[in-house]
């Protein structure tokens, strides 16, 4: 700036572009997340979800626990009995196990906290005002994802603890350190799984303008994957590895194997298998067990240590993580490229 003749103007300009200390905050996503979390924690939808899932979960655990109590003799000495309460569905029961229930109803949590994340801001016309603040645009979507995941984590934790409490009261079984470690790992994997649904719902909220359409799309995928995976997988496997009435055993195995592989595209299948490994130490495979190995004296019917179970389920966990990352990445990229004005 030149100075002398226009000293006044120069000072004014200097004031205008003066550096602003402590302005652009590091981690604007944290501010966004804190606001979203505060909104969510007070929301009616959170209470509805806790009530719904809590009720279902208690019913599931109660049914398993009652069954175990009725067969106390057989159950005595079973390793990992506590975690099996979460994962085993007694054959006599109509109610799925707790783990299956989370796989089934859990997506609702992710969808509920994500389906209107971005289009909700658009509908309230708060998005232009929000991103005109000194934060990066991705702080918005990152913050919202973080807040959603935190809320899901909280709900899941609350329900898991509630269920553990019920199991404890009904049966009086104390969890062993191994049980607790298994539950902790399962909890993390569950977060990844529910994170997938949160990311998918957020993707819908970015792409679709109306919250109702977005919710419908997310719930649609959830229902299709839940109800029709087996059906769709059967049809596709029929094309890829056909079985006729005269099929050899190899052909039949190939068909079943194809079905299994295809169904593993669905995050629900991956999560279910992972849960089976993690919360039932006796599970050694979720694949096909050839007849000649069933009851094979060399395959010991013993319980696996946690690290072995983890090793077995690592592929599922990685695949699940990849699906979640891809989904969130898509939502992120689309959001970053979108025009502010819709």
């Amino acid at each position: 700036m030149t100075g002398q003749p226009e000293a006044g103007a120069a000072t004014a300009t200097a004031a205008i572009i003066a550096p602003r200390p402590a302005r652009p905050p590091r981690g604007g996503w944290r501010v966004v997340a804190a606001k979203e979390f505060a909104d969510g924690i007070m929301s009616i939808r959170l209470f509805i979800l806790i009530a719904l899932l809590g009720l279902a979960a208690v019913a599931a655990i109660y049914s398993t626990a009652t069954y175990v109590r009725g067969n106390a003799e057989a159950a005595t000495g079973t390793t990992g009995l506590f975690v099996q309460l979460f994962s085993n569905q007694p054959t006599s029961s109509q109610i799925p196990s707790f783990v299956a229930l989370v796989g089934l109803l859990g997506p609702l949590l992710g969808i509920a906290f994500g389906f209107d994340a971005v289009n909700g801001e658009r509908a309230e016309r708060t998005l232009p005002r929000l991103i005109a603040q000194p934060i990066h645009r991705d702080d918005v979507i990152n913050g919202k994802f973080a807040a959603g995941l935190a809320m899901i984590g909280l709900v899941l934790l609350a329900i898991t603890m509630l269920v553990s409490g019920v199991a404890f009261v009904v049966l009086g079984i104390q969890p062993s350190p191994d049980d607790l470690a298994r539950l902790a790992v399962w909890y993390v994997v569950s977060l990844v799984y529910l994170g997938f649904w949160l990311a998918f719902a957020m993707l819908c909220s970015v792409v679709l303008r109306r919250a109702a359409t977005s919710a419908l799309a997310a719930i649609g995928l959830w229902i299709v994957l839940t109800l029709f995976t087996a059906l769709l997988v059967g049809i596709f496997a029929g094309y890829l590895a056909p079985v006729s009435s005269t099929a050899t055993i190899d052909q039949q195995i190939a068909n079943v194997q194809t079905q299994l592989d295809l169904s593993r595209v669905s995050p629900g299948t991956l999560y279910g298998e992972s849960g089976a490994y993690l919360l039932d130490p006796t599970v050694q495979t979720v694949g096909i067990i050839p007849i000649d190995q069933q009851g094979d004296p060399q395959a010991l019917p013993s319980a696996l240590p946690l690290d072995q179970s983890l090793l077995l389920t690592l592929p599922q966990v990685i695949a699940l993580l990849a699906e979640t990352v891809v989904c969130f990445g898509l939502a992120y990229v689309v959001f970053m490229r979108q025009e502010v004005r819709a």
């Binding site: 300009t13 004031a15 205008i16 572009i17 302005r23 016309r125 708060t126 934060i135 502010v340 004005r341």
Partner: protein, 337 residues
Amino acid sequence: MRQKGRHERVARAEEPSGQAVIRTRQLTKQYGSLVAVDHLDLVVQPGEIFGLLGPNGAGKTTTILMLLGLSEPTSGKAHVVGFDPTRQPLEVKSRVGYLPDDVGFYGGLTGRQNLRYTAALNGLERRAGDERIGGLLEQVGLADAADRPVEQYSRGMRQRLGLADALVKDPSVVILDEPTASIDPTGVAEVLDLIRVLAHERGVTVLLSSHLLHQVHQVCDRVAIFRAGRILAQGPMAKLAEQLAGGGIELEVGIDGPADQVSAALLAIPGVRTATRDPHDPTLWRVAGAQSVRGRLTRDLAGRGMTVWQLRRIGDDLDEIYMRYFAKDEVEHDRAA
């Protein structure tokens, strides 16, 4: 006109850089084949209230979004408070307050909570922020309603809250997109008063856009008339009016009588260049000519036995300027085509 504008630009560019608060050079935004903003050159000086005027869809909001770094220009450059909004958006956004067109707030939160969120996003500490917010709410007249949820606010209250929101970060520039749209006349007056106070008492530079000229022209120091992504004219209001009339004046005259006689009488007055009949009202005439016509018109017509029942000077009213710039532009378009 365009030639002249270009000369002005060259002259300004030689001034020390950093003088202008907002400066754009050949700023262009294209959406596919649609050119929303077409090689725009704009200069806003510190402390002034600059009006970006034009009809809906003229490219005003697109320009504003580019100035804030919320939309990337297809070509050209913008400089806002000394920074390039595309490359250093945070620097710009921490200094520029923005009131979007049709501003929205989180309906479930109170006015105060909404502003607190903005304060937090700007890195303001809780206590300092609360103090600021309290003062601003007082200033925009929302102190009593501050703790009511925004969904209960009227349109005018939201607009005033939006103004407070734009000021939370203590900006040196505020950009207001359609600040007076869809609020009632008293609301408009209040908002305009606030804008005036901002600029003249606090030294904040104001860039406002509007399609409602008669509402905002009173507060603007300079205006740019905007259409189809291009500036048709730029400068203080009075100057624009003068330019349009080509140094002369224009009058609207109401005279009864046969058209050919009236026309002949009007053209006979020394200094009158054109006399055209209003297409809707055959007794209304538009007369353009030198300043001297003013003194002679009624006298000469009276001398011919014609009674002037209405006489009004036109062309210095912004709406009129606006309409006529567009009419002119359209004629030029037609000629080009």
